[in-house]
Symmetry: C2
């Protein structure tokens, strides 16, 4: 059961246009996706969509908190559906991003003292070479 539907979009004050629904569908389906890949995927189902629409939607969905930016993987901004904080394993060679569920909360165990501000979000990325790439060498 996907949590991404017209109701969720409208709850954020956004309109549920077909373009927006497709964009969310493809982000969810891919798990982690770049703008370019997203545009290609949506365009296959909705050929008249413009790249500017994809960018505008990424902005709107980020502001609404429905999606999050994973980071920049091999030069491309990569996005995902927002969910509980989790860890990413990012392969430097092929760019594949793998979600890892943390045991409990990511943060407090590593800290020695108070933070210099109020925490809003935590991002824990592990970079390396994935097993699949290692076997190809």
């Amino acid at each position: 059961m996907s949590m991404i539907n017209s109701t969720a979009i409208q709850a954020c004050g956004l309109k549920a246009t077909p373009q927006r629904l497709l964009i969310l569908k493809h982000i969810e389906k891919a798990g982690h996706i770049s703008i370019e890949q997203l545009f290609d995927a949506v365009q296959r189902e909705f050929p008249s969509i413009s790249l500017a629409t994809v960018y505008k939607n990424i902005d709107a969905l980020l502001a609404a908190g429905l999606i999050r930016e994973v980071g920049i993987v091999r030069g491309k901004h990569v996005f995902e559906i927002a969910k509980e904080d989790h860890i990413h394993f990012i392969c430097k060679r092929c760019g594949t991003v793998t979600d890892i569920r943390p045991r409990k909360e990511i943060l407090p165990e590593s800290l020695t003292g108070p933070l210099p501000g109020e925490k809003e979000m935590v991002e824990l990325n592990i970079y390396g070479i994935c097993n699949s790439c290692k076997n190809e060498t």
Copy 2:
């Protein structure tokens, strides 16, 4: 005692040009710095330097492992001198990046099982509003 000197640069197979030394000096001095800020800072001491030289050096120093990219803070790539894995607190409002030394190793406490590849580097960023910005509200 800075670890950034001609010897360290040459050990990576790079030449110790005055531009490169200044670039490293200013990254170290700033702690965390964007390309734009770096170019401005170096240009004050070495007016003839070109922006392309800064970009080429960032690439070379990243490849050599002497510097690391902290992330993208308010749209700007931010770099630092490479050192042991540590935590960054990043203020969403003012962009200030603060280093936090972890209690021990950042990684293993949060993990439940084996990673899908070989770990090379860990990045733990905490986003929020710093105390200084909060007091200004």
